[in-house]
């Protein structure tokens, strides 16, 4: 009897929230700003574009997710939340909590604004700042600005991220800070890090779950 149950068990429902140009098989990849056709045409435009054959894609707003309550096992969201307008951020966390099954997990990665503010103060707020530093940091603060949605609109740091997670009713299991320049990076299912690539900014990797 147990065997039968095991074989009948469907595979976990996993959502790649704010997939951008990285679509992965085994995930329902979600982004607001693309159709699948546009995504496919963008492959030439972005070096890091990756569309695994058979990857599912749904165009949707993270503040209004087309999933029923308690239907998702795992949400991974990489460099998405900083693209959400500041007044919509609580709604996105509420949506994540709504669609997760009890015990379902969230893995979320975003930039640490504390480090951006420090970098600005240390590198740009002085007369001999370099143009390169300025444009690099402007991009890290405000997004690459290459197209719709590719703008940053909300700042986070560990305290703020923790506040949103807890406010939405999720339990934070672990928050890991990966420093700028490090080659170390979290084991992600929806990003294939290039070997030895350096992190351009300090990032936070938050792991949380919806309590049963």
């Amino acid at each position: 009897m147990t065997d039968k149950t095991t074989t009948k068990k469907s595979s976990p429902v996993k959502v790649n929230l704010g997939c951008g140009v990285g679509l992965f098989k085994g995930f329902i990849n979600v982004d607001k700003y693309f159709t699948l056709k546009q995504l496919q045409s963008k492959r030439g435009l972005y070096r890091n574009a990756m569309i695994e054959p058979g990857a599912e894609f749904v165009q949707a707003d993270a503040a209004n997710l087309p999933f029923s309550d308690s239907s998702v096992d795992y949400i991974e969201s990489i460099n998405m939340i900083e693209h959400i307008p500041i007044r919509d951020v609580p709604q996105v966390f509420a949506e994540i909590a709504r669609i997760l099954k009890p015990g379902g997990r969230l893995g979320l990665l975003t930039d640490n604004f504390d480090k951006l503010a420090q970098n600005w103060t240390n590198n740009v707020a002085k007369p001999d700042f370099s143009e390169h530093h300025y444009f690099e940091l402007a991009q890290l603060i405000y997004g690459n600005q290459l197209g719709p949605g590719e703008f940053h609109t909300s700042p986070f740091n560990p305290w703020i991220l923790n506040s949103f997670i807890v406010w939405a009713g999720l339990t934070l299991d672990k928050m890991t800070i990966y420093p700028q320049g490090s080659t170390d990076a979290p084991q992600l299912q929806t990003v294939k890090w290039q070997k030895n690539s350096l992190l351009r900014n300090e990032v936070m990797w938050a792991e949380a779950h919806l309590p049963k």
Binding site: F113, D114, A117, V124, A125, K126, F135, L137, I160
Partner: protein
């Protein structure tokens, strides 16, 4: 003869570049994101909206101004340049230089990101800040986000501002910093709306005066 010349003298051509919802008579008011109709309808939406009768308005992109070379006496731009995508900022300064007559003047106001970085590092990097603080400060950093164009996309400080001004061939005459928390403001500004004049500065502001 002298009186005749004075009477014949044409009115000065003055631009209010990035007027938003505050149009000023005697200026050609310019904004990318609004039509005059929309502006009038926004009067109800914004407490600070001002659309005087007879004020001229042109919908245009600051990076592509519909004016001939050497045709403008004065450009005033209040809280506009931080709304420009970073890669377009230099083009805006080049356009200002192009349309100004030799001897024509530019006066420009924008947020000082040095002060925003300082405020963030002072108040946001440890617990104790309030939710209101966070939202208010996020809006100062990233714009009020209530409509298209109302997002900040480029950071400035006095050194960065000076670099852009000098690199297009303008001469900086004066740069004044109006400090956070004070209710001081540039008295020689002609297009500045009532909220700035009546309220306190929410972060340090840069007031740059330059000429061609």
């Amino acid at each position: 003869m002298a009186t005749k010349t004075i009477q014949k003298k044409q009115e000065l051509v003055k631009l209010n570049l990035g007027c938003g919802v505050q149009l000023v008579k005697g200026f050609i008011n310019i904004d990318k994101y609004l039509t005059l109709e929309q502006l009038k309808s926004k009067k109800r939406q914004y407490a600070n909206a001002v659309v005087p009768k007879g004020a001229k308005f042109i919908q245009a992109d600051a990076a592509n101004l519909p004016f001939a070379n050497n045709s403008v006496d004065y450009v005033e731009s209040i809280d506009m340049i931080e709304h420009m995508p970073t890669k377009k900022v230099i083009k805006v300064f080049m356009e200002i230089y192009r349309v100004l007559k030799p001897g024509g003047k530019l006066k420009m106001m924008t947020n000082d990101f040095d002060s925003m970085a300082k405020i963030w590092l002072k108040y946001m990097t440890k617990p104790g800040f309030t939710e209101d603080h966070y939202y208010e400060f996020s809006e100062i950093l990233y714009g009020n986000q209530v409509g298209p164009g109302e997002y900040h996309t480029s950071p400035f400080n006095p050194m960065v501002m000076n670099s852009f001004i000098v690199s297009v061939g303008l001469t900086l005459d004066k740069m004044t910093i109006y400090h956070l928390g004070t209710s001081d403001y540039p008295k020689n500004a002609q297009t500045m709306g009532p909220p700035m004049k009546n309220g306190r500065m929410r972060c340090d502001m840069i007031w740059a005066e330059a000429h061609k």
